[in-house]
Symmetry: C2
Subunit: 370 residues, 2 copies
């Protein structure tokens, strides 16, 4: 795909819609997370599903992450191809074709995967043996999200036993991610949800211990809650992803210490393509330029302009009385409602510093669904 910019041009010359990374804010976010976990006894395994970009993954590793996690085998392939040596597919992988790819990939990097089913453990083991590789396998425990995962305690132990017994697999620990807690608005609600999740993790670790099964790693946590996971002492690895970009939906959360103040670093640059009425402007960025699953994009740093509705290729802005109205052709920055599915719409990050394009990073796992 043609890129919307070349290094050296000013932001205002970038073709639109384009996905912009503000490098200063992005780098501060990387540093802030690293500082916030320094000396706390946890590793960062950054979530690459947020950005789908090996360039960003390499920077996360350079800032201290031990590797990344992914949700799809094809994402893991893109990360390994981009030089990431330690990748966890923090998700169940089902189907012979995918398992064969996963097992083959373990020739090129340390590869982990999650399970919540005994039949899947057998299938994974068969794939690993066929490929003559070894996979780290984590038992996913449902710690409150109500999505995948086995119940805490004995069901997790039974699965861990099956992994320990399976050739080609090594039991690496527990995947314990309370995803539905991340967007609970108040810090009190989030802290309580993570407290309950920590109880489930402790019960499972005790049951594993009683069964004589070592549990090297408990991995989980997201950008909206990870200090609570750390406080609990139940996790030793965190999987934050959105902290690098901070979308509009995350910003609607209450953020108080110990949560660091992450900054918006991801934007959609858009052009005013129509000024049909004094109170209305139309942008060239609609549903195909910013995912609206978690709310509409928010106009950045322009008071009185509200992104009011989206259609496929249009965004309708309401201009408040007295606000400075944008001119036809003017470019505006939007903060996307949800960074992960928005990044998945683009082929390039246009990286900007001080108003000038510094670099372009290919979104190498864009559309990597398989």
């Amino acid at each position: 795909m043609n890129a919307p910019a070349t290094p050296g041009i000013v932001l205002d010359a970038v073709d639109t819609p384009a996905l912009i990374v503000e490098l200063d804010a992005f780098e501060r976010n990387l540093a802030r997370l690293a500082e916030s976990i320094a000396g706390r006894g946890v590793r960062l395994r950054a979530h690459a599903k947020t950005h789908k970009c090996a360039e960003i993954a390499r920077r996360q590793v350079a800032a201290g992450a031990i590797g990344v996690c992914c949700q799809k085998v094809s994402e893991a392939e893109a990360m390994v191809a981009g030089g990431i040596a330690d990748v966890l597919v923090s998700n169940e992988v089902v189907g012979e074709r995918k398992l064969a790819r996963l097992a083959a990939l373990a020739r090129h990097a340390r590869l982990g995967v999650c399970v919540d089913d005994a039949g899947n453990v057998r299938a994974l083991s068969a794939a690993a043996r066929r490929a003559e590789t070894e996979l780290d396998v984590y038992v996913e425990v449902d710690v409150g999200a109500g999505r995948c995962g086995v119940a805490p305690g004995e069901p997790a132990v039974a699965l861990a036993r099956a992994i320990v017994a399976a050739p080609g697999l090594s039991f690496a620990g527990l995947q314990a991610y309370q995803g539905s807690a991340q967007h609970l608005r108040s810090v009190t609600e989030r802290r309580e949800a993570i407290g309950r999740a920590a109880g489930a993790v402790r019960a499972t670790r005790s049951a594993l211990e009683a069964a004589g099964i070592a549990c090297p790693t408990v991995t989980g946590a997201g950008s909206g809650s990870y200090p609570y996971e750390i406080e609990s002492g139940a996790w030793n690895e965190i999987q934050c992803g959105s902290y690098i970009f901070m979308d509009a939906d995350y910003a609607r959360n209450e953020w108080t210490a110990p949560l660091p103040r992450f900054e918006h670093a991801l934007f959609v640059l858009s052009t005013v393509m129509s000024r049909p009425a004094p109170e209305r402007a139309v942008l060239d960025a609609g549903l195909k330029a910013s995912s609206v699953d978690s709310g509409l994009p928010v106009v950045w740093n322009r008071e009185g302009l509200r992104y009011a509705r989206a259609s496929d290729e249009h965004g309708v802005l309401e201009i408040a009385p007295g606000a400075r109205a944008p001119a036809l052709g003017e470019k505006l920055l939007l903060v996307p409602g949800h960074c992960d599915p928005t990044a998945n719409l683009y082929d390039w990050y246009v990286c900007v510093r001080g108003g000038v394009v510094e670099d372009l990073w290919p979104i190498s796992a864009r559309g990597a669904l398989y």
Copy 2:
């Protein structure tokens, strides 16, 4: 991107998530639209924003369409590269870089574009002169959608005059699309909205006539309303797009004659990747596999299974008591809520007939935002 299938394999062997076109239903939809407008004095200019695929555009032309419309210059480039000789960008194009590309493209195909601003007419004219090409220019009239477009009547005439006077441009008629009418649920509401739009078109045509300006084409209409546009006699070109696929949101409309009964022809094939509880299954298709802007996907032909919530890479199915529960690894078809932004998530249409993959079509304008 790697394709999730190869021709000749059965549907159940396709890797997931994958975007499936049921060819029989797709071809019946093509034929149904053609029959419904035969002898009615209107041309079809099929909307390629729905599918973003030159293979499909060529089939639409073979079924009688005079060409396609697009929303973006980059989509038009993909269509012209794919052999489509007559393309209308049914949208305003703003910005020097885009205008230069549009004007250059007019060397290779008949190219139209819409305007709602006099300054934009001057910029278009300059671009066409620089490229030594000619552009068909349509005045977009706001016929009730409240998005882009000038008011009906005199404002449209003033702009038409400017186009007539501008070197490199030829006034081709009116763009009059009542987009917000397409999803009004009752046929009565839709018919009334199109009735009002027709009044606006007639008033504008009369004003153009009074000004001595010929108006060769009035173009607009969508899959949810086009028989009403035809009945009104005010349009001579229609821009249906979604009729080829019929998404879940369109299916929630009331459909009575003269609207033909289009069939669902686009599906997301997904795999059950977790069966954590008797009443719950988790699919491998979430927000990055099916756009949820117009509602969640709907499970196809499996009673008692409801797609209840989506996260980035997961879809949670609720299994009703007594329903046949899907097994781990089973593949299910989903009807996407909204076809256009869903197709934009994929690189390939996997074309299936009688349960066997017949062809793979690249989604050549996927991500073509510029």
